[in-house]
Structures are given as structure tokens and as C-alpha cells.
């Protein structure tokens, strides 16, 4: 149970002032986070419009300029990618000598953990990592994946995380897929890990 006083302050600093030569530019961006200022209705003088039509960088005017659209698409992608700076690095439960990593996400955590313990109980080496953030990935994920000879990704789907990891990091991750509306059994994952260790 968290102590309420220890919870981080997530209040939003709303815009209240003109921010560019006597005007309010709703698409100026924080240089670090690329976030836009947020002026809420009721704030005098900061009336502006947001929405689906492309906006000119800075002014927020509706823009039909092709080059601006490409620039803004990159800016939005960079804004999302930059969130990685605020994501803790992925932690690896590593064992000296392990060259197989099991990478999971979500509700498979328990079954993967049980499988890893079983493998280790057999005297074999295996590492485990579990993702909490999927977009963007933690900043060290590529480096972590590169340390292992093989990466196993158990998923209760047809291999969506494995596909992302392969696309993002050019890692030959192996999918262990199950789509039976039933959780993994530890033995299923244990078996897949042992196969990779022994190959």
C-alpha cells in the first residue's frame, strides 16, 4: 500500500501566458520532451484549435504544406521515442554463463518464472527479462538482447512482441506461441528453453 505522500506529483502545468512575440503558439514544443503547451478553455487570450488536420510547426495553423507534414510526422515519432528516457532500463535476471534469454511481457510472467526456476533446478543456465513498456521499448533493450546467443519470446498470441523485437533490433528471436485461451504451463516454456540451450 503506497504512502500517499510518496506518490509522484503528476500535476500538469497549464499554459497561462502568450509564448511567442505577443501570440500564443499552441504547437511550440518543449525542446526536451517535444510536448506542446496545454492551454485549457477559460484561459483568456489563449484561444486556439487542436485536431486532426495537419498543423504548421510552431504556430499551429492548419497546414497543407507537404514538407511540413513530413516534418511533423517525424516530430511526433520523436516525441514518442523520447519517452524512452523516462522508462527504467529493463532488468535482467541473469546467471553467469547463460546464453539464452527468455523475454516476456504481461501475464506470462508467472509461468516464465516457474519455467526458469525449473531449468535452473536442472543445473542449466538461463536468463529472464520481462517488459513493462512496449512503445517505446526501454532504452537498453537492444543492448541486452545482443548479449545472448538465443532469445525466446513466449506469447499468448501469434508472436507480436517477437515480431517487433526482430524488426527493431534485427535479433533472431524465437516465438513460443499459444492461443488456446489458457495460460502457459511452466512445463511448456521449460521445454522450449531446454531445446534452445541444447541446440
Amino acid at each position: 500500500m503506497p504512502d500517499v505522500d510518496s506518490l509522484p506529483d503528476i500535476s500538469v502545468p497549464f499554459a497561462t501566458e502568450l509564448n511567442h512575440d505577443g501570440e500564443f503558439w499552441p504547437y511550440l514544443r518543449d525542446p526536451e520532451t517535444l510536448a506542446r503547451p496545454w492551454a485549457v478553455p477559460g484561459t483568456p487570450g489563449l484561444q486556439h484549435r487542436v485536431g486532426g488536420l495537419e498543423k504548421e510547426d510552431g504556430t499551429g495553423n492548419v497546414s497543407y504544406d507537404p514538407a511540413n507534414h513530413e516534418k511533423m510526422t517525424h516530430v511526433r515519432a520523436a516525441k514518442i521515442a523520447g519517452i524512452a528516457r523516462d522508462i527504467p532500463p529493463v532488468e535482467v535476471d541473469h546467471e553467469d554463463g547463460a546464453d539464452v534469454l527468455v523475454l516476456g511481457w504481461g501475464s506470462t510472467y508467472g509461468a516464465i518464472g516457474a519455467a526458469v526456476r525449473r531449468v535452473r533446478a536442472r543445473g542449466k543456465k538461463v536468463a529472464q527479462a520481462h517488459l513493462v513498456h512496449l512503445n517505446p521499448f526501454p532504452p537498453n533493450l537492444g543492448e541486452v538482447l545482443g548479449r545472448y546467443r538465443r532469445v525466446l519470446v513466449p506469447e499468448l498470441n501469434l508472436g507480436q512482441l517477437a515480431r517487433l523485437v526482430r524488426a527493431e533490433y534485427l535479433v533472431d528471436a524465437k516465438t513460443l506461441s499459444k492461443v488456446q485461451a489458457q495460460p502457459f504451463k511452466a512445463a511448456e516454456i521449460e521445454h522450449a528453453i531446454l531445446e534452445l540451450i541444447d541446440e
Binding site: M1, P2, V4, Q47, H48, R49, G51, V62
Partner: protein
Amino acid sequence: MTDTVPPQTTKKDWSSDQEVRWCPGCGDYSILTAVQMLMPDLGVDRENTVFISGIGCAARFPYYMNTYGVHGIHGRAPAIASGLAISRPELDVWVVTGDGDALSIGGNHLIHALRRNVNLTILLFNNQIYGLTKGQYSPTSEFGKVTKSTPFGSVDFPFNPVSLALGAEATFVARTHDMDRKHMMETFRRAHDHHGGAFVEIYQNCNVFNDGAFEAITSKEARPSMLIPLEHGKPIRFGPDLEQGVMLDGQGHAAIVDVAEVGDDRILVHDERRDDPGLAFVLSRLARGPLEPTPIGVFRAVDKPTYGDEMTRQLVEAQERQGPGDLAALLRSGATWDV
């Protein structure tokens, strides 16, 4: 509500500096002008005014108002607007939508916003076609309509937006059209001043993909004999010499009659304040489409508690009863345990 008197403004103050992009000749221009001309008279501040739209030609509207604006999610403007209106009761929240956005993609959002009586002013630009996507049939296109997506004619029966809003028991329901700025402004003013969910259908000409859809009733020559003005407390009469009127028959249907033939006293007197929306619904069924004499004006205007007022009242009462909220106490109020 602010205690200060809003400064005197003009249409220009309410117009943004963005280039208006609708097809030349589109009915949306005249609706925009009517709204921009009306705003200075409403006694409200620009910063306390918000226009929210979904997707479609009409949905560009907020960009052209010098107010706060959201060009939002297809069909979901009533949901966004409901949240804003409920959490910020001091704001004036308008929704601008079209027949596709409001009645197809967002049909559910619309009826529930109206049913809940959220304090919104909803303007539905009805052009009976999907214009932005270049001419497919919409939920208000007439049966048999030939369009790009109905090459052999539509086999859908259209919504009558006024009937739909009355069916949802909206507390304010009106209809106007884009050829009459004065009528639009008066109708919008009434809708704005209504405390609760106000719904206005605007017959709007799409001169590119559905040109002339309302011409048979809205052209200057046709209006006297084809538009039936609804005025509270007055007999419902129309025609160049007010020679025609609306009468209820023994079955509860509305019929158009010759006033001289039936006598003045048998003509229905319009009562927009009837609690039961039934009679207003009957009037909304008078015309089967904009090719027959069609009522315009305010069908219904009744007072009912709004969703926002009721929610605020509950919050105040709960705090009076239990004191201000305490997150730490709430977290530890039930059975808790450490794992």
C-alpha cells in the same frame, strides 16, 4: 459564470485567421457567418466558448472560430463535449456535426447526450450526403437515392433527425436552414440560451454532391408555401396568405388543411413547452422529406434537470455529508493486506 460583463465584440473578433476551406457555394459558409454574427450578442467570452466537432466537412467549423476548439474523433464530439460541459459548467460548449458524423458513426453518442440532457448546443448540418468523401449516401439520404455507393438507388430508410432527437426526449429541438440567416441566428440564439441539451437540425446545401436537395422548400419563392413556421402559442399556419394550417385528425395524425374550410379554431396551436414530446413528434412526421411542406423553428423547449447540474449536486451533497475527500483514508478504508 463570471460576474463581469463581457467586452463588446464584433463578428471579426469571433473569426479566426485561418483560411476557410469549403467548396465555393457550400451552405456551410452561411451557417458560419450566422454563428459568427450571433456570438457578439450572446453576452459570452471567447475564452469561455468551445466548439467541438467530429469528422466531415462541417467538422472543420471549429478552426474558423476564434474560440477554443477541438476537431475531434469521428462521431464522438458529443462524448468529448459531454465531459467538458459536465466538468466545466462555466463554459459554453457547442457541438458541430453532420448527418454522417452525428447519425451514423456517432448515432449512439448523439442520442445518449440528448437523453442525458447534457448542457450542450448541438448544430447538425444535414446535407443528406457524405460530402467530404465525395458523394456516398448518408443516413439521411432519401430511399432510392442514386450515389456512388448506391448505383441502383439506396435501399435504406433515412433518419429524420428531428424525430430522432424527440425520440431521445431532447429538451430542445429545432430546425432551420442555410438560406435564411435571420432564422438561423434566432434559432441558434434560442438553442444557446436553453439550459440543457439543445439540438438544431440545419438543412444545408451541398452544391457539389447533392445540389438542390432542399431547394423545393428553401428557395425564396418556395418558402411561403413550403415552410411551416412553428411559433409558440400561435396557430400553425402557412402559405402566402396563411391560408393553410395544421390540424390533428381523430387518429392523432397531423394533416395540412385549408383554414377557410375547417375554421380557425380547429388549427393546432403550437406548444413547444409540452412535457410529452409526442405532439412535437407528430409534427416532425408531417413531411416525409424536404419535398413537402415542412415545419421549421422550435419543436420542443422544456426544462429538465441537466446531467451536469445533477452530478454537481451529488458531489456537493456527498462532501457535505462525508467531508472532503481523503485519498489516504480511502486507500485504507477496506480490508487491506501485504503480499
